[in-house]
Amino acid sequence: MTKRQRLHLSLALIAVAAIVLALALPFTAQPALAQETSAVNSYQGDYYDNLNTDLDGEEFRAQLAKLITDTHTTWTVYRGSSSLSLNNVWPLSDVGDVHNPNDNTMKWFYTGTVVPSDNFGGNAGQTNREHVWAKSGTSTFGASWAEAGPGADAHHLRPTEVRLNADRGDLGFGEVAQTKSNIVAQNGSKSYGSTPDELCYKGANLFYPAKGYRGATARILFYMQVRWGDACSLDFTDGPTKGDGKLIGKISDLMKWHLQEPPTEEEIYRNNIIAGIQGNRNPFIDHPEYAEMIYCHNNASYSATLQQTVLTYGSYLYTEADRPTALTLSAASLQLQVGQSSAKITVTPTPAQALSRVQWSTSDATVATVSDGVVTAVAAGTATITATSVVDNTVTASLTVTVAVDTSPFVQAVQQIEQKTALYDKYYAINEAIEEYNKLPQSAQATVAQHYATLQQAIEDYNAQAAQLNADLHTATGYAAGWTAAAAAAMLAVVAVVTGKGIWR
């Protein structure tokens, strides 16, 4: 190869490397979007056809709950005959946990360890049935449903090693430091995985499954909360939990796992098997995006956190085509009076076909709040209203809102006083002006000093007239009663003190 040929070859290699790098770079710093795996949105049936997917939050959850409850036509039982015909969930191999039907092995949940599928029992090293949403005796589902209904729902019963199951107990789920002391032993061993992510960990209140079972755990819990949440008061929290069977945390970790680990072929296989037995499906395996639609928008205390989680770890709802490069708001700034609301601020994405859906936030909620693009002035000051793309939280647009205090009601009330001639009318007009004045923030009161002086003069004038009339009645009564002048004068002196006005002059 000549020197020239070597030079051309070098340039060609550099060009190829540059092209490869250019193709890879644009999205390396951006949040991940839906991974196009074969397992995501693979369901092709008509089970969900009647759902209104324009809804979100609690409204969407309610109709999904109705669907998976109405179609839950066969309730399995937890004990009894090993015959599947009696709907017993004891032979877990029959509800889709068989790993390899050819050699009769299965995988333990949480770890993925392959074991014989017929070694059920209550001893260490044997397989038992883990309630992923811990039943905590009878406290979670109640005595009548501990071994039926939610206590026997195959969607959340998974095979685990007896001692590992006991160690998980009623801990919530969340990320725990992957230290040696936190490793949860399986059949007494802490070396069932070759890398840290292939092991389970636990802290004081949380259990951290091995990689590959975290997303599946989350989807089981989402199913349980929708299917049995209303009947058994099951709910999520974003804190660690232990011992409270009805409340499981932490949902931000669960959502993260759900986004990081899309539904697996094993989950889909098992979902189809259980649907054939129970009649209902786990919708979060068939439609992973439903978890975002519900839990990011149900106005729970954790919803905003979950929206950030989705922005950080990717979304099942959005694709790359939804990602805007910029957002433009319909207003660059707003001038509002306290209590006033703006017209809805519209968002235009660039490119135009990108998604315009944003999260709204305010830099100072004591000055202005924002909801669904409508800005409401709270108090005098300045705040920045920001729209953040739900697809990419690095894409934002902002406007400044300046909130002023409307002093016109007070000014108009003072002007009304001057138009009143009758004493009673003056009283009402002055009182109205006083009320308007006291509504003004202190900073605004300083701006209406001239009108305030007018108000004070009106108060003085009215009080003097009122005091004179009160004194007239007193004087007349004194004359009628024949009081002596000295006594009357003494009494009027008291009146003067009481009213603050000298009226015997």
């Binding site: 007239d472 009645l473 009564t477 004359y479 024949g482 008291v494």
Partner: protein
């Protein structure tokens, strides 16, 4: 005979004059005596009107020897303050009951209202105090030309005073007088008397 006729005429004239002296109209003496009778109840209403506003006071006094019970209610215009909580309406009312025992007052005593006595006995009906007198057997109506004298109060300052009294037998049943205060407030005072049985 002529002398007898003159005497008879003189007697007739005297009789006529006596009849005239005992005429069918109230005398000042009767009115003053009526003021001094022991009444068991007195209803006193005082009304002041100025600038389109009328304030009323009402006092029901029941006497029992040297003691008395006074039920009262009178209007009070509320004042305004920019700092305080003001009443919704301008007109307020002060209501209460006091007991007067030998001049000592107990009960709902108000600082600007002396209910220890109502001294109408000091009023004096005198020919020199009145003008445009219209009197009947039961009523007396006149302009008061000397209000200070009539009310026996040298500090009394008013104008356009008039009085109207109604008697029932020897006792007063009603006494009304009206006057105008120096600040042009119109005053109407009404007494209704009930004589002790």
């Amino acid at each position: 005979m002529k002398k007898i006729s003159v005497i008879v005429f003189a007697i007739l004239m005297c009789a006529l004059l006596c009849l005239a002296g005992c005429s069918n109209t109230l005398s000042y003496s009767q009115l003053n005596k009526a003021l001094g009778l022991p009444y068991s109840k007195l209803q006193l209403n005082v009304s002041v009107k100025k600038s389109g506003v009328t304030l009323n006071g009402s006092y029901a006094i029941a006497y029992n020897g040297d003691n008395a019970t006074v039920q009262y209610t009178y209007d009070r215009l509320n004042t305004l303050s920019v700092d305080g909580t003001n009443a919704d309406a301008p007109l307020g009312h002060v209501t209460g009951t006091v007991q007067v025992n030998n001049g000592a007052v107990t009960g709902d005593v108000q600082p600007d209202l002396d209910l220890s006595f109502v001294n109408y006995e000091g009023f004096r009906f005198d020919k020199g105090f009145f003008a445009e007198v219209e009197a009947t057997k039961t009523t007396f109506k006149a302009k008061v030309t000397d209000p200070k004298g009539f009310l026996n109060n040298s500090d009394f300052a008013c104008s356009d005073m008039s009085v109207e009294a109604t008697v029932n037998g020897k006792a007063l049943s009603k006494l009304t007088f009206t006057f105008t205060l120096p600040d042009s407030a119109s005053v109407s005072v009404n007494y209704a008397f009930t004589l002790a049985q």
